[in-house]
Symmetry: C2
Subunit: 253 residues, 2 copies
């Protein structure tokens, strides 16, 4: 290889600091360790507090640092790959479902969900809350919206609420035959309720996975799943179950 070119793009000051800090995290700190306070860090690297804060924010977005309520800023463990393919977002209630039902209410869904379900705005639908736990850690909270038309024979008498109600709704949903599903991932902010469940601050950035389940030629249910963006990377194995390499050794100190 004959050509060697150095990258010539100028980078802002905090960006250089971020790189230096990132290297310091690798070499001097271990996972879970609390960082020195901002004043000490700014002094050590000879930068203004504002510059330091920008760099810390970047490292938090990239999953290298965690800000934890009452603890301070700590070195984050490497992100965990969480598979979000069809095998993990199965037809709700089917065998092998990774999600635990917690509750079920009847509520008006957000307008965006009503549009997908093609229900009238303001119409109530069954709303099942579920959670997904990986390695003992809650990684995602889900709201599953099911219009009454998808569970026509549901009885209101047995199990009027709670997890038992959720299971009854899913059992009815299983009577439909799943024809297909699709999925979208986007950035969102943690709702207060989800934040609590995921042990995050309300409004923290999250990855929102919206899954449409098709049955009887229409959208029979919509899942809006909120994954922790700080600790998770979502993996999609197009090539038949090949797993993304997590590089756990990369950030070991």
């Amino acid at each position: 290889m004959g050509t060697q070119q150095l990258e010539s793009v100028p980078e802002p000051k905090y960006w250089h600091l971020k790189t230096v800090l990132s290297e310091a995290l690798d070499s001097e700190f271990s996972v879970g360790e609390i960082l020195p306070n901002e004043r000490d860090l700014a002094a050590r690297f000879g930068v203004a507090r504002a510059t330091l804060r920008q760099a810390l924010e970047q490292l938090e977005l990239e999953g290298r640092l965690q800000r934890r309520r009452g603890v301070g800023t700590t070195v984050a463990p490497p992100r965990v790959g969480v598979a979000v393919g069809s095998e993990q977002h199965v037809w709700p209630g089917a065998v092998g479902d990774a999600w635990q039902p917690a509750d079920c209410t009847v509520a008006v869904p957000p307008a965006s969900v009503a549009d997908i379900l093609e229900t009238v705005h303001g119409e109530q639908v069954h709303t099942v809350r579920r959670s997904r736990v990986t390695h003992g850690q809650p990684v995602a909270a889900e709201l599953l919206y099911i219009p009454a038309s998808s569970v026509p024979d549901l009885s209101a008498i047995d199990a009027p609420s709670g997890a038992a109600r959720a299971r009854a709704v899913l059992r009815e949903l299983q009577r439909l035959e799943l024809e297909g599903q699709d999925r979208a991932v986007e950035l969102g902010s943690a709702r207060a309720e989800d934040a609590k469940e995921l042990d995050r601050l309300p409004g923290a950035p999250v990855l929102v996975v919206t899954t449409r389940f098709f049955a009887e030629g229409r959208t029979a249910a919509v899942s809006v799943a909120t994954y922790r963006a700080d600790t998770c990377r979502l993996t999609f194995g197009d090539s038949g179950g090949v797993e993304i390499h997590h590089d756990p050794e990369r950030r070991a100190s």
Copy 2:
């Protein structure tokens, strides 16, 4: 449906404000319109500036608002669904490739990429910069890392740099037969270079899609693609090309 339960979870003040603001955006503002300044907004809704700012930040994370340098805070258009399946992240350089090569350098990749490529840390690899444009808008910037071992017959003589060099590298890469690929999505922050290309501020939240391309029983190339998180939702069609519904009418005013 006999049961009707109101959601009983207490929500913080800014969260309620966010909902109210979101409704105001729907009914009173049109896409691209500049919001009144913070003082006026805080006065109108009878909240403290800090509360208002929190609500605005949430709405920005959720893609409802955009903060633009020198413009202010504007009402964002609905997010656009950008497909990121195997059809869009094809074997680089293959027919139908959605990515435009812009440049090619030889550089040391980040440690995380070196780990995936199983190259020695500090070893240089071909680094092709490409961009993806949808509806005339740049939606993603990519760095494609290709170790010398994946393009052994590449000549350094013709096209030593630039887009021509990038095309020469991809042409060589095409000699390998693609055996499979997988993909991961995670939250990141825009590098200065990518931010410029995507018309964002450096450090803005982005969705980072890492694709591993397998050939000859190993990882032959790694793509790290940075998608705008404010304007894009990434779609994965598991069910044979069913498209996510974008609800463009939802936020029309």
